[in-house]
Symmetry: C2
Subunit: 135 residues, 2 copies
Amino acid sequence: MRIGELARRSGVSERSLRYYETQELLRAERTPGGHRDYGEWAVDRVVRIQTLYAAGLNSRKIAQLLPCMRDTDGRPSEVATPQLVDELTAERDRINRLIADLVRSRDVLDEVIDTASHGADAPAGRAVAAPTGSA
Amino acid sequence: MRIGELARRSGVSERSLRYYETQELLRAERTPGGHRDYGEWAVDRVVRIQTLYAAGLNSRKIAQLLPCMRDTDGRPSEVATPQLVDELTAERDRINRLIADLVRSRDVLDEVIDTASHGADAPAGRAVAAPTGSA
DNA sequence: CTCGAACCTGCCCTTGACGTCAACTTCTAC
DNA sequence: GTAGAAGTTGACGTCAAGGGCAGGTTCGAG
């Protein structure tokens, strides 16, 4: 598939896909005319990249990490070097701390939302539209 | 206390503290000479600000949110407006999605770390201390 | 063959939370 | 009163993941 379709199917902009390529996160075949040509695997890969970005890893780490992840069909194509393991361990710990942090923040938000919702003295012009439980 | 001490005690740079002030996240009294003077409450507040930044909220949202949080000593000084509630609800949902994402990423990291660790060649340096389940 | 959609490579711009330096003032210990 | 630590404002730099535009090329249906 070409870049437009991949963008649509993965929900990521074409710009980002080209950027991923410069970061060596995503390779593409080329048509004789120079257009990028992706296989089906690309969709999955792009989603994975997004997930890792969302977790706060930078391009370099992701690039190192990707070949060490097991693919949809099974085996990882590389094993992490000891130094990479160290870095990933640090990332994991950071992520764990971040999760704890997020849970706290979420709970704070819940409380504020909750307070405002059954609240009491709603000031001028209230209308409270959002129910507490879901969005 | 002055800015240096607050920075040390909260683990945040002086630059950040001044920045917070421009963003109206943190107020300070001033000495006759113009130096900032913080009360004890500031330490807590700064930590809170950091936590919210870590959760991906921007300055504006944090500024709106802070007065709605209950303080160490009890009551919030404001109640969220309906519009703010909407925004916070959106944030909360985003955070929940992010948490799910982070858990996935962490598990991926754990797997890669694990694979590399029994993998075989565990060489010089360290030897992975944390078991899979906990931080 | 032709035309518009889709794609290509640069290249500069943006955003946000700071880092950093400069030039100056205030505080404090002696 | 004086040195030097600590503080002040202001302005510019940074970093990373893209956005967006310009100017040109390729693709593919008719």
